[in-house]
């Protein structure tokens, strides 16, 4: 199991029972102690998402308009879907706001 803090912001929390922050034990799929980001997104979709999956995922990634931050760093700087999350990682999904 991999112990992660998963956060949702920018309205995404509405898809997750209005929870902005969830502590999870996700199943390891890399070296017994890590979980690949692609697997994690699929796992979140199956285990945490409560409604309208098309507002969260698109193909095997997140939908356009969502940023993914691992430990407050854009996942584009960290191998994106190939990043392997480990114990203690904080994964934040942000939906961009457009209002003003």
């Amino acid at each position: 199991m991999v112990k992660l803090k998963i956060e949702f912001s920018g309205g995404l929390e509405l898809l997750f029972d209005k929870k902005k922050e969830v502590a999870v034990d996700a199943p390891a799929d890399v070296e017994d102690s890590k979980i690949n980001m692609k697997t994690l997104i699929e796992w979140i979709k199956t285990n945490l998402l409560k409604e309208r999956p098309e507002l969260f995922v698109s193909g095997d990634s997140v939908r356009p308009g969502i940023l993914v931050l691992v430990n407050d760093t854009d996942w584009e700087l960290l191998d994106q879907l190939e990043y392997n999350c480990e114990d203690g990682d904080n994964v934040l999904f942000i939906s961009t706001l457009h209002g003003g």
């Binding site: 309205g11 356009p64 931050l69 760093t73 706001l97 457009h98 209002g99 003003g100």
Partner: protein
């Protein structure tokens, strides 16, 4: 863009004494502000506080773009307007308020909707641009026009109890398209007309946008370029995250851009949504 002044006059010394006292700003910083120009796109919730504080700080030329008129439901957050100006052009109303605070600045209004034909000719006249708009199509348009004109874009947004601020097209930082190469599906976009907003949230985000523009113009401090600031009013927590750098493949800020200042695209078609907060109500919208 505004002629640099050799020295401050006595009135300016009196007006800006609280700035001149600060070593980080001082006379040189104030002169830079007076010689700078800033375009604010949108005189709504974000633009209200941003325009007032930019004018008060002595930005030499302030452009304000808004094609809308003041509505009663705006006054819950758009503190630059007044009840007596309902029905009046928002750009003109904003100009009246900023000149009330500082009549010494050059305040230019554009009572038009920014589009692919007019954006570059307006934006190229300013040093810095604030995105204070309320819809996805205009955000792509403003981004592309700023990037192709090489103008740093200070982007703010707010919805319900949350706000976001960053700077695009500055230093090694990304642009809006580097982060969001594809627009979100139109059915997933919520604006303030649909989702509501606590009035002071855009007010606060507009203050941060004004601050970042002032710091860039005065070359003071470190900017939010390459970083995204998130604000959650419910818990009153701010958080700054590190963004990717500029994408060499980006079609506007990359090495072989397909979007150029003479070839902006049709943004409404690109986003599949109208560039107007009010035309497109989304009853199911919550994202």
């Amino acid at each position: 863009a505004v002629p640099a002044c050799a020295a401050l006059d006595n009135e300016q010394i009196r007006r800006f004494s609280r700035h001149l006292l600060m070593p980080e700003l001082g006379v040189e910083g104030q002169k830079k502000l007076l010689s700078s120009s800033v375009l604010v796109v949108g005189a709504g919730g974000l633009g209200s506080s941003a325009c007032l504080y930019l004018a008060a700080a002595g930005i030499g030329r302030l452009g304000i773009v808004d094609f809308d008129t003041v509505e009663f439901s705006n006054l819950q957050r758009q503190i630059i307007h007044t009840e007596s100006r309902i029905g009046v052009s928002k750009a003109q109303s904003a100009r009246k308020s900023v000149l009330g605070v500082n009549s010494d600045i050059d305040c230019v209004v554009y009572e038009i909707a920014l589009n692919s034909s007019n954006a570059v000719s307006i934006i190229e006249q300013y040093d810095y641009v604030l995105d204070a708009t309320d819809n996805v199509a205009t955000r792509y348009l403003v981004n592309d026009a700023c990037i192709t004109c090489k103008k740093p874009l200070i982007s703010g947004s707010a919805l319900q109890l949350e706000g976001q601020v960053t700077i695009y097209g500055h230093g090694e930082g990304p642009c809006y398209r580097c982060l969001y190469p594809k627009p979100p599906p139109a059915s997933m976009v919520t604006n303030c007309s649909d989702g509501g907003v606590l009035g002071v949230v855009p007010g606060l985000i507009g203050c941060i946008q004004a601050l970042e523009a002032i710091k860039l113009a005065a070359t003071c401090g470190t900017s939010l370029s390459g970083k995204l600031m998130l604000f959650d009013a419910f818990s009153c927590m701010f958080r700054t995250v590190k963004l990717r750098g500029r994408n060499p493949e980006c079609i506007v800020c990359g090495e072989n851009p397909s979007i150029t200042r003479d070839a902006l695209i049709d943004y409404v078609e690109f986003c599949g949504a109208s560039a107007n907060d009010k035309d497109n109500p989304q009853p199911t919208a919550s994202l």
